[in-house]
Amino acid sequence: MHTRQIEIECLRYDPERDEAPRWQSWQVPFSDDMSVLQGLQYIKDHLDGSLSFRWSCRMAICGSCGHMLNGEPRLSCQAFLRDYFPAKLRVEPLQHFPILRDLVVDQSAFLDKLASVKPWLIPKPNPAPADEAQRQTPRQMAKYYAYSQCINCLLCYAACPQVGLDSGFTGPAALALLHRYNADSRDAGWDQRREVLNAEQGVWGCTLVGYCSEVCPKGVDPAHAINQNKVNSTLDYFGLLRLMMPRGGDT
């Protein structure tokens, strides 16, 4: 089924051998249904087993295989070689992250940011017995549902210029997740999350570029979540939020 050959050029870096990252390219036979991930797997299986990259589900839900493809953050399993042919395809690790090895980045700072927003349900005093599911109407769900779709693939961090300028910026995915819980009618954790939200490196770190939402493979729209919370944060500053802002349980 392999019909054509495409040149795939990858950034290589082994911290124990290389002083700086370098490029290496391979000619990879491909068919129309082959993803970029399958191209990388072809290299690893048949041409050079030393190329390191993360992958797992190959169906765009585990969030492992984000790379810069010709400079654009994409999931490699969701991008197809046919769309890059006949030009060559350049694969780099996600930008704004430290490179561990080849295409593998260090995601530990992101995981710390994720934990910092307290991304768990902080229940309100609830009359429903603990052995029963709470009620939540589809309308109430709609307020947070899109923000619960994040697969933590890091593409938005690679896209965000602010993350590049200030590595301490909480960043799009974590702030969208913060909003996901704040907007949930079952949650009463606003007060516990406000410090992270209102901080200089919280929503105010965002400069409204919006590229995070453009590259999101799951339609999460972190830019919208963040900017909605700039309003909330302002109101909070002036003490108005408590009066105006419906949250937790509103229908």
Binding site: D14, H46, G49, M59, A60, W120, A133, R135, L177
Partner: protein, 587 residues
């Protein structure tokens, strides 16, 4: 070597591992818990589960019906004491997930909605659109962050159990980022490492599903039980094997062959109308549907696609609104990976390996025969799936028995004095692993892995016969020998050496596959997902109403023995699907 002392090590950060860790942390916040996983937890394969999770909730449903559906679905090879415990605890776990924020799909009045799955009398499947596993996993992961006693070791590959004085006393892991071996010394280990579907060529599983935990336990004398029962999911994309959820059929989708004929009516699942109807046609069990496809292919009734034979899964009559609301991931995947919009065209599908019903033998308390070792989730055989798992029982299993395992391990750790650090075993194991990384001669990992996948498809597939299974056994023996002779790595560096890890995984895969093939050969009957064409076409309760146990025998093939099934209240009967029935009202 770095030594990390803790009380409980949970291996695997998927749904079962996270649930186990949370249960242990809640039981005793002073316990030092290590959650050790070869990937960051939210990358675990639980994330790819689509359709949903079982839990009795409707007024017209009952625990007895869930019990009966599960036991008959498993063709009576289920341990009924385990099934009883399971059905009694599914719903509370679904409610617990709701309390932790899981966005289960709702009815208009805010109550949780449930959908049909195959082999179910009544709608029982809790679902979060068609991303149920994704939402369960992220809910569990995010909730686990609340517990300071759960210390995560992301991207640590557990390569060996450390056993001394007849007890498990730790694990040896490789820190992937540095390539350094790390010794975790502990009193109890919970294996939650998932299945082994990757031993087949065409499967719905993520690349990480390589049977590591099964291999770890097996190498220390714990039997692998019922390994011959490998589930082919009837609807996966040809070529890639990407899963197209049973939830599609639960919402009313139909399967047709190249002539537009709903062929399942020709295989004891009809009549086709009224539709939809519980436990009939497209809502039959997975084993029957995959077998029907095989016959259709033989008869030349399937479609030819560039990736091989397929039938059509047709959702069009559900309408765009329902498809987009209930099945958004399927819509996205059909477009991306098959170039088809399910609103306007049917999706080409075929069976692909999906699930290992068998696994590490344990009792209904998740205890294995090795003191201190527990197992939960797909890697375990707790006894609820029998010869064929019902759709939506596996997501429920990971939380119900994940919790049990966490509580059991916590109790074990509290009773057990802090063990000595098993340094000697760890160093021996580390030396073997490091030697593997240094090899400059031999065959490529991919060569052996692909030959294994092809031989399992050919010999231990949907339909089986003696000569095919023997050929698979011989081939695996030969592959194991070639693996021992050495695989050559291009990559001998330490930092994030994934080729090295894949060589270690291949070692586990070969042994687990060998247990599957030999257990299959020894079962001279047909039951559930194990169907023979060589004169053993019927179920044989007189001789084979029994679990198989595969015992590792060093470099040679495993010894297979059989053990009784726990039957408490539902004696074996014929399995009935199809037949007359009322049209179901879908919510």
């Amino acid at each position: 070597m770095e030594v990390i002392r803790c009380d409980v090590v949970v291996v695997g950060g998927g749904g079962a591992g996270l649930r186990a860790a949370i249960a242990a942390a809640e039981a005793d916040p002073t316990l030092r818990l290590a959650l050790v996983s070869k990937v960051v937890p939210m990358r675990s394969h639980t994330v790819a589960a689509e359709g949903g999770s079982a839990g009795v909730i409707r007024g017209d449903d009952s625990l007895d019906q869930h019990f009966e559906d599960t036991v008959s679905g498993g063709d009576w090879l289920c341990d009924q004491d385990a099934v009883q415990y399971f059905v009694e605890h599914c719903t509370e776990e679904m409610v617990q997930l709701e309390r932790w924020g899981c966005p289960w799909s709702r009815q208009d009045d805010g109550r949780v909605n449930v959908r049909f799955f195959g082999g179910m009398k009544v709608q029982r499947t809790w679902f979060a659109a068609d991303k149920s596993g994704f939402h369960m996993l992220h809910t569990l992961f995010q909730t686990s962050l609340r517990y300071p006693s759960i210390r995560r070791y992301d991207e640590f590959f557990v390569a060996e159990l450390l056993v001394e004085d007849g007890r498990v006393q730790g694990v040896l892991a490789l820190q992937i980022a540095t390539g350094q071996p790390v010794l975790f010394a502990c009193s109890a280990v919970v294996l939650c490492t998932g299945g082994a579907g990757r031993v087949y060529r065409q499967n719905t599983n993520a690349g990480i599903v390589t049977g590591d935990g099964m291999g770890l336990a097996y190498r220390h004398g714990v039997a692998l039980r019922d390994m011959e029962f490998v589930q082919y999911h009837p609807t996966a994309l040809p070529g890639t094997g990407i899963l197209i959820t049973e939830g599609c059929r639960g919402e009313g989708a139909i399967l047709v062959n190249r002539h537009g004929h709903r062929y399942l009516q020709d295989y004891g699942l009809g009549p086709p109308e009224p539709w939809p109807r519980a436990k009939a046609m497209e809502l039959g069990p997975r084993d029957r549907l995959s077998q029907a496809f095989w016959h259709e292919e033989r008869k030349g009734h399937t479609l030819d696609t560039p990736q091989g034979a397929a039938v059509h899964l047709d959702l069009r009559h559900l309408g765009a609104q329902k498809i987009h609301e209930r099945l958004p991931l399927i819509t996205e995947m059909a477009r991306t990976f098959a170039g088809v919009d399910p609103v306007s065209a049917p999706i080409p599908v075929r069976p692909a390996v999906h699930y290992t019903m068998g696994g590490i033998a344990c009792n209904r308390h998740t205890e294995t025969a090795l003191p201190g070792l527990y197992a939960a989730g797909e890697c375990a055989s707790v006894g609820i799936h029998g010869a064929n798992r019902l759709g939506s029982n596996s997501l429920a299993e990971i939380v119900v028995f994940g919790k049990v395992a966490g509580l059991q391990a916590a109790a074990c750790a509290r009773q057990q004095p802090v063990p000595a650090v098993p340094q000697r075993q760890a160093e021996a194991a580390a030396a073997t692993l490091l030697a593997l990384r240094g090899r400059e001669h031999g065959e490529r990992v991919a060569t052996l892995r692909d030959e294994l996948g092809d031989c399992m498809e050919a010999g231990v597939g949907i339909f089986r016969d003696e000569s095919g299974m023997r050929a698979a056994c011989d081939k695996i023996a030969q592959l194991r020998e070639r693996w021992r002779a050495g695989v050559r790595l291009d990559d001998r560096s330490r930092v994030f050496n994934t080729e090295w890890l894949s060589a270690i995984e291949l070692g586990f895969m070969l042994e687990v596959a060998e247990a599957m093939a030999h257990a299959a050969l020894a079962r001279r009957e047909s039951r559930g997902a194990h169907v023979r064409m060589d004169g053993y076409g019927a179920r044989d309760d007189a001789n084979f109403l029994a679990h198989s146990l595969a015992w590792r025998q060093g470099d040679g093939p495993p010894r297979i023995s059989h053990a009784p099934v726990h039957i408490t209240r539902l004696p074996p009967q014929a399995r009935h699907y199809g037949g007359a029935g009322d049209k179901a009202v879908l919510t």
